[in-house]
Every structure is written in C-alpha cells, then in structure tokens.
C-alpha cells in the first residue's frame, strides 16, 4: 500500500467537507427521528463517512453508483442533493423519488446515484450491467457497487464478481466491512478473516484497507478507479470500518463484545480527520467551523423545504408502474 497515491491538501479538505456533510446530515436525520417528526427505516452510515468521501475524489458525476439501504453516506459523497434527499425522507412529492422510494431506494441519476437497494447483495449484479454499459459507451466511466461484509456471503456477490472479472468490466466492488451484519459478527458469517481474499477466486485484484484512513482509502480507490477507466478491469476493495449507530436506529448493540462499540467510537474518523487538517495546517479551526456552519445551513434549508412540500397524490399509485400511466 506504500505505493498508493496520497491525497494532496486540497483533496484532504474536500474529503473532510464530504465526510462532515455526511456526519452532520446523519445526525440531523437521527435528531428528526428521535423527535418523532420523521418515521422512517433509516440505516445510519455514521462511522463510515471517510470511505465514500475518499472514493468520491476520483469519481465524476457520470460515474455510476449502486448502493444499499445503508447508503446515504455513499450518496451524499457522490453528490446527491440534500434537498431532494430530505424531501424523499419526508415522503414528499418533491423528493427525488416523489416520496415513492424512501431511504432504501433513494435515486438521483444526475449525480450518478442509479440504484439503492434494500436487498442484501443486489447492488452488485446491477453494477455489473452499468459497468457493461460504461464499457460499451467507451467514455471511461466506472460503476461502483457498495455493499457490506454480510453481503459478501450471498450468491449475487459470487456471480457478479466472476462476471465482472471475466469481462474486464470497469466496476469497483466496495465492501464496507463494519464487522457486523445486523446482529451477526463477521466471525459468525465466514471462516476467513478478509473478504478481499475472495477476489482471488475470480482472478480479480482485491485489497483490504483501513476505510477510516483517508490516505489509504483515497489511494486504494484511486488506483482501482484508474485501472477500471483504463480498461484493466474490476477491483474489490474491502474497507474496514465500524457502524456507530448499530444496525437500525435504536439498536442497543448488545450482541457486540463488551466495549467494542465504545472503542470504535474512540477512533471516530471524522473528528480525527478534522484534527489532522488543523495539525497539518491545511485549514484553521475557524475555517472548518465556517465550513461546518455552511453545511448546517444547507441541511436546515433542506429540512425546512422538505416539510413544507406536499405529499404525493394517490394518482401516483398509477404512475411509474409502467412508462404509460395505468388506467
């Protein structure tokens, strides 16, 4: 990993901007849920912010993302606008999916957020197809499939990895290994200690990195994305991380080893990067505070606008089933 490219100062700052946005947005969603105003099956990506933020540094708007229920962090990093995201969470007609999809199906093609799925593993086969489309288009786009450690044990993983490798498709398989699948630990899910080993089984390049470390994550992602753009095929990246809010909001995490969660939170990657920016003189405390209050303003505007908007009308049940509205 020593030969990985490293992010420059501007890039680190940009990673932080994204990670801070994800974190603040996540906290705002949870606040809204705890207040009872927002009732939604929300899967927090808190703790995993660095992964998609560092990844996004090497992605363009027209690169494709297929993510999962635990995916708002991926989407925010990819550029999903917060206003239509909030409106969708609030189920309003102004939401990106007109209130029909919700958090598990957030979609925003303009920012490349093509598919969000609630079915474990199912982001991968679809990303293979987007990779095929990208290859046919010949414009150097890539497709990213994000998924969890648990998803690495489902059949769709296997078929997708093999097919993408076979056809040298520009797909990044990004396993965000937060060590748990719902309440099941990685140790109870497989005998192996690194899911990236599985890349070998398909003749694919596979690496495991500390997803919470912006240098490593940026480097691994950049190398993989560059390879994919150059037509050199897919890569599997296993990014080690932790989910700070358990599986669903309200999860007490009693199934974890004692102290495991607290320990992980000690290493919260977002404040860590913030401190580093200051320590390395990349940004001052004031500059960062300014950035953060700017982000908060955007979020607050999105929240307010979301609740202001209307719910969709019942006629929407007949729309978007097919291209033509049904009778």
């Amino acid at each position: 990993m020593s030969n990985y490219p490293t992010p420059d100062k501007a890039t680190l700052l940009e990673i932080y901007r994204k990670a801070a946005t994800i974190k603040l947005n996540d906290e705002r969603i949870i606040k809204e849920m705890k207040s009872g105003r927002l009732v939604t099956p929300y899967y927090s990506g808190r703790g995993q912010e660095i992964i998609p933020s560092a990844l996004a540094m090497s992605l363009n708007d027209d690169d494709y993302l297929c993510t999962i229920y635990r995916g708002t962090h991926d989407m925010v990093a990819k550029g999903f606008p917060l206003d239509t995201m909030w409106a969708e969470l609030a189920g309003r007609v102004t939401g990106s999916c007109k209130g029909k999809g919700g958090p598990m199906h957030l979609t925003h093609p303009e920012s490349g957020c093509m598919v969000t799925t609630g079915i474990v593993g199912s982001s991968m086969p679809i990303a293979v197809g987007l990779g095929w489309a990208a290859k046919l288009d010949g414009k150097g786009q890539v497709a990213v499939a994000t998924f969890g450690d648990g998803a690495s044990n489902i059949g769709a993983f296997h078929e997708s990895m093999n097919m993408a490798a076979l056809f040298d498709l520009p797909v990044i398989f990004l396993c965000q290994n937060n060590l748990y699948a719902e309440h099941t630990s990685m140790q109870k899910s497989t005998k192996i200690d690194r899911y990236s080993k599985r890349a070998d089984a398909y003749g694919m390049v596979g690496v495991t990195v500390n997803g919470n470390d912006p240098d490593e994550m940026y480097g691994a992602a950049k190398v993989a994305i560059d390879r994919a753009r150059a037509g050199e095929g897919p890569t599997m990246i296993e990014a080690m991380t932790f989910r700070f809010n358990g599986h669903l909001i309200g999860d007490m995490c009693d199934y974890m080893k004692h102290g495991e969660l607290a320990e992980a939170k000690q290493e919260d990657p977002v404040p860590a990067l913030r401190q580093r920016l200051i320590d390395e003189g990349i940004a001052s405390e004031d500059e960062l505070a300014g950035m953060e209050s700017g982000i908060k303003e955007v979020i607050e505007a999105a929240v307010a606008a979301a609740y202001d908007a209307d719910y969709p009308d019942a006629i929407e049940l007949k729309r978007d089933v097919f291209a033509q509205e049904i009778a």
């Binding site: 999916c97 209130g99 999809g101 489902i154 059949g155 719902e182 309440h183 049940l317 049904i326």
Partner: protein, 327 residues
C-alpha cells in the same frame, strides 16, 4: 393442554417453536440471527430457543437465503423437521429456486421416496414505510406451486396452532407472519389447528368476506360497522391459503349469496382470483351479486404514509366494497 390468556402473536409463535422443539428432538431452527447471541431474530421471535435447545439445533446463519432453504431441505430429507426463517417475505425471491423447484417438488419427482417436512417462516406487511422491497405479500406465487402449503394466521391462537401443525406436517409449509399482528395481544389458547381448515371468524347471513392475516381485523371492523345498519357479514379467515378450504367458503357463500375477497397482496392475479373463480363456477346462478375482490394496488408498495395507506386495503375500502355488494 388448554388455557386462555392474552398474549401477542409474537409470543404465540415463540411459544409454538419452544413447544415444538421440546416435543420433538428432530425439530430444528435456522435463519439469520435466530440464535440468542444474535438476539433471537430481528423481532425476537426465536428468542430463547438456542439457549434452551443448543447451538446445534438453533443456528444463526450467514446472509445466504439459498443455502438457508437448501439446508432446510437437506435436513428435512435427512429426517429432521427444520423451521427456516426468511427474514422478510421479499427475500423469498432470492431462494425461489430452492423453494419452488426443490422443496415443493422433491416428493413428487422422487415418486414419494423423499419428503421435505420443513416450515419456512417469514414476515411481511405494509404499514411501516419500508417501501417496495420489504412489504410484499407473495402468497400467490406459492399457492400456484403444487407441493407447497401456504399458511397465514391472523391471531395468536391460530398462529400457535397452525405453526405446531405446520411443523408436524410432512410437507413444506410457507408460514406468513404479519408484522403489525406481532404486537397485538389477544385471547390465546394453545392447541394445534389442522391445516386446510378455515375459521368462521364471525357468522352472518348477508354477505361473506373471505380473507386472511391482518386483513381479518379490517374485515371484522367492517362487519361490526355494517351490523349497526342491520347487515350481517360472515367473515371467513382462510388460515390456510393452499390448500384452501373450499367447503367452508362455498357453504358460506351459498348461504349469503354474496362474496368479497380481501388480501393485502396486489389484487391482480392474486389468490382472490382463484377463490372468486371457484365460487363463480360452483355457485353459478346462485349469487345475488358479482363476487368482488379488494387487494393491494397494482404497483410496488410505496414509501410515504399517504401512498402506503392508499396502496393497502383498509376498513374504508373494504367497507365500501362490502356496501356496494349488498346495495
């Protein structure tokens, strides 16, 4: 052993599992998170089982629905009575080959040499804003699959009694649990209830409402409401969807002359169509009004509350159809 007390369906199912595993050492349980270290199922339905019966008989699995159902089939052929959990009904799609090409057919294709006495428990239902991939009722797929029995209880007593019978049944049974019902306490009697027999939930002479699962509650509310205006609806809780209780349904409709079939699944090509067709065929010329059906709208289950409510049958929409029928 008969006793009466108020418990929830969640408790009733948990108790049925305990009693079945106690009664027969061949009964096993498997699925994601079903063992106690993983908290006994996302909803706690299988709580206590692994502690009591051991980790060999109660197994938390990786996220591998094909292997979960395959394991259940193999164990069943090998002489056991596995109760497999598919966490949510939409995920049966992932294991569809195992269920329909194998579990349902092995007895027939082997000329009766092998049998697959297994139960697949799964939960579903709209009402929690879980959207298009976590709310579907898919009983019609399995009712159309010879060799598979399909059961859907509407209350704790039936849940207990039917699950005990399903576990003792020598054929594969798909057992559908409604999530809203999990939390509703009701009178409870712990007795086995034979598969294939409907329950007359309420007697009436003016029309027959045929339904199952959560919709029984709505149908009962409608019947109570109609009774105020002097119309007496008979409510039939199918309990077993396949094979369904033609005798009970036909006898009732013969008496009332009017039939309304209600299910939360999408109306078109749903199980109501089969029941309506048989009623029409068997009671041709004896009906006072056309058989009506109320079902889910022809679309994926939408996310936001207003659309989600508009999607599913409600006391309102059922009541409206019932009134039209007796008009």
């Amino acid at each position: 052993m008969t006793e009466t007390t108020k418990i929830t369906m969640l408790e009733a199912i948990n108790r049925a599992l305990h009693d079945a595993m106690e009664a027969d050492p061949k009964v096993l349980a498997l699925g994601e998170e079903v063992a106690d270290p993983e908290e006994g199922g996302v909803m706690g339905v299988t709580k206590g089982l692994s502690t009591k019966f051991g980790a060999e008989r109660v197994v938390s699995t990786p996220i591998s629905e094909q292997a979960i159902i395959g394991s259940a089939i193999g164990a069943a052929i090998g002489g056991y009575r596995p109760v497999a959990e598919i966490m949510l009904m939409n995920f049966v799609a992932v294991a569809m080959d195992m269920l329909t090409n194998h579990a349902a057919k092995l007895r027939f294709m082997s000329g009766g040499q092998t049998a697959v006495p297994m139960v697949v428990r799964t939960m579903t239902g709209s009402g929690f804003s879980t959207g298009g991939q976590h709310s579907d009722y898919l009983e019609a797929w399995f009712a159309h699959t010879p060799g598979m029995k399909v059961v859907a209880p509407s209350n704790p007593t039936d849940a207990y009694g039917l699950l005990r019978a399903a576990i003792e049944d020598d054929d594969p049974v798909l057992f559908i649990e409604n999530i809203q019902l999990y939390f509703m306490p009701a009178d409870f009697t712990a007795e086995k209830i034979p598969l294939g027999k409907a329950r007359i939930a309420r007697e009436g002479s003016d029309l027959t409402i045929i339904t199952h699962s959560l919709m029984v509650n709505h149908a009962m509310a409608v019947a109570d409401q109609m009774a105020k205006d002097g119309t007496e609806a008979e409510v039939i809780d199918l309990r077993t969807i396949s094979p369904w209780d033609r005798e009970t349904v036909l006898a009732s409709v013969k008496k009332t002359g009017r039939a309304l079939i209600v299910h939360e699944a999408v109306k078109e090509f749903g199980i109501g169509a089969e029941i309506a067709s048989v009623i029409n065929e068997e009671l041709f010329g004896q009906l006072k009004a056309p058989v009506k059906r109320v079902g889910g709208a022809f679309c994926a289950v939408p996310y936001c509350k207003p659309l989600e409510s508009a999607f599913a049958p409600s006391a309102d929409s059922i009541g409206k159809a019932a009134l039209e029928l007796v008009a």
